[in-house]
Amino acid sequence: MTSQTDVRLDGAAELRTEREATPGSAGDRRERPEAGPEKVYDSYYGRPVLNEPTWQEHDIAGYLFLGGLAGASSTLAAVAELTGRPRLARVGRVAALCALGGSFYSLIHDLGRPERFINMLRVFKVTSPMSVGTWILTAYGPQAVCAGAADLSGRLPRLGRAATVGAGLAGPAVATYTAALICDTAVPAWHEGFREMPFLFAGSAAAAAGGLGMLAAPLSEAGPARRVAMLGAAVECVAATRMERRLGPLAEPLKRSRLLRAGEALSLAGALAGVTVGRRSRIAAVAAGAALLAGSACTRFGIFRAGMESANDPKYTVQWQRRRLS
């Protein structure tokens, strides 16, 4: 480096004698008995190793829920449309439209510079789930809006039908990429759960979409919604249980989470009620659907909070890495 600085790249260490100082070499320490086992230090004054995610809970956990609801609702709408259930299809389309609006609001609201949202579209990076997600939303969003708008306005039915199918195909990607998004971080409870998280999210999304279908569609057409809710709740619970088992000590924040327990209970109760009494009673179907929606929201907020907790306690970072190293 040609410069006027005193950077020395020639290895001539004698230029600065301080570099050669050997602390602890002075003095002639007496031999002394061992002072018992050494204290194990887990961290620097108990401070977290990681910086806490700056994401606001109501925005990002809210988006995890709304994005899942939107994606799975679009898929349910497409399937309903193709199997001759127009009112269930309408519920799915309108739900997707509303959830998508909420999603965009949350995402943009959480940016430090909301007016620069467009900067997301400068690049496509497969190493960044947020970049991939932006493009998934870019493909999905207009179709979901088109499907919803065509339905509500009653115009351009063919375009609406095509958009319904298109959004239905893109919907599952919207519902599951968010799992890769939160797992692709150094947050211990999120990162290490990356094998089960996409299934947990897919199940939770299906349970929410099924719940909304049950809540708003007539009993005669809500059959698929009830079954989707049941399947989704089951997958969600199995994925959560497997994740908690596999993570061992890292699962503590997940196991402690009352939100996650409430989410599982609400989802399973809602799903069971849906496929039993919900088939005959409109009131029961509405209650079961509401429970499913609440359950899915609880699960997403619970996952979000458990991740925050695992990032804020250095033991989850340090002990996990020590275990891997040893």
Binding site: L9, D110, G112, T127, D184, F199, G232
Partner: protein, 265 residues
């Protein structure tokens, strides 16, 4: 221009915080609160958007080499270390940045472009060292640039320039690694057996750090992760799992609407 870096030799750090001050001054890093923490002489606490160099102080009841503290049988040593962005070879912050704001410079360092960052905050939890943060005042991510502006002008970074004991050494990364090996031998021979290098190995979880350290205790004692791994190392598997889950969702919803369920309503 080859890859440059920092070798921070904590055995000769005197905890003066000149690096913190020089960094703040040169880079116009805003003040980020001054609270009494009771953490020895450390009120800076940790790295973040508004702290790009952080001097850790650790007090231990252990001997430092052959040193006699001169207070009876009591053992005492003080560990001081100036922490900084590691400018990882495999940098998670750079990988996950969805705008391309974070980039690799011609010096091999990792820098945020303030005018491209939109404040999404993804880099913050991606960093396994807790280095990068989102600045409150501007809403965008900020961290050590290894004085990118100074490097371009042939100057060494402000922290290294100001370090009075040369604990922070700047230079060609390969040369620094050799120097660090020599120094490690010297410190160990002088009686400090607990000395070790941290981040010098290109085979580690982040492909080697552009800023690496000679430490006198375990990394976690200084607030450093003992075995950091870049989060994107598992990303191919994450995408596979997410892909399978998406197809399962599509297939599951479709299956639940098939006519086979008609009989049972």
């Amino acid at each position: 221009m080859g890859r440059v870096g920092f070798f921070t030799d904590t055995s000769i750090c005197i905890g003066c915080k000149a690096c913190e001050v020089a960094c703040k001054e040169w880079n116009a890093v805003p003040e980020d609160g001054l609270a009494f923490t009771g953490m020895s002489y450390d009120n800076t606490v940790s790295l973040g958007a508004d702290t790009w160099r952080h001097v850790a102080f650790v007090e231990q009841r252990r001997p430092l080499g052959h040193q006699e503290p001169g207070v009876g049988d009591m053992d005492f040593r003080w560990l001081m270390a100036s922490d900084v962005c590691k400018h990882c070879t495999e940098a998670a912050c750079l990988d996950v940045c969805p705008t391309g704001s974070l980039f690799r410079t011609e010096f091999g360092t990792v820098v945020v472009q303030q005018d491209v960052c939109n404040g999404c905050g993804y880099c913050v939890p991606a960093c396994p060292f807790g280095v990068i943060g989102k600045r409150e005042s501007s809403g965008v991510a900020a961290k050590c640039t290894m004085c990118y502006d100074r490097l371009g002008d042939g100057q060494e970074p402000a922290c290294a320039k100001t370090c009075p004991t040369d604990s922070i050494q700047f230079g060609d990364l390969d040369e620094l690694r050799e120097r660090a090996e020599r120094r490690l031998g010297q410190v160990r021979e002088a009686g400090t057996a607990s000395a070790r290098l941290y981040g010098h190995d290109p085979g580690d979880g982040v492909g080697g750090m552009g800023a690496f350290f000679l430490l006198l205790d375990e990394p976690e004692v200084y607030g450093l992760p003992p075995g950091p791994v870049v989060t994107t190392r598992d990303l191919p598997s994450m995408w596979r799992h997410a892909g399978v889950a998406a197809f399962a969702l599509l297939a599951g919803v479709t299956a639940m609407a098939l006519p086979i369920w008609r009989r049972r309503g």
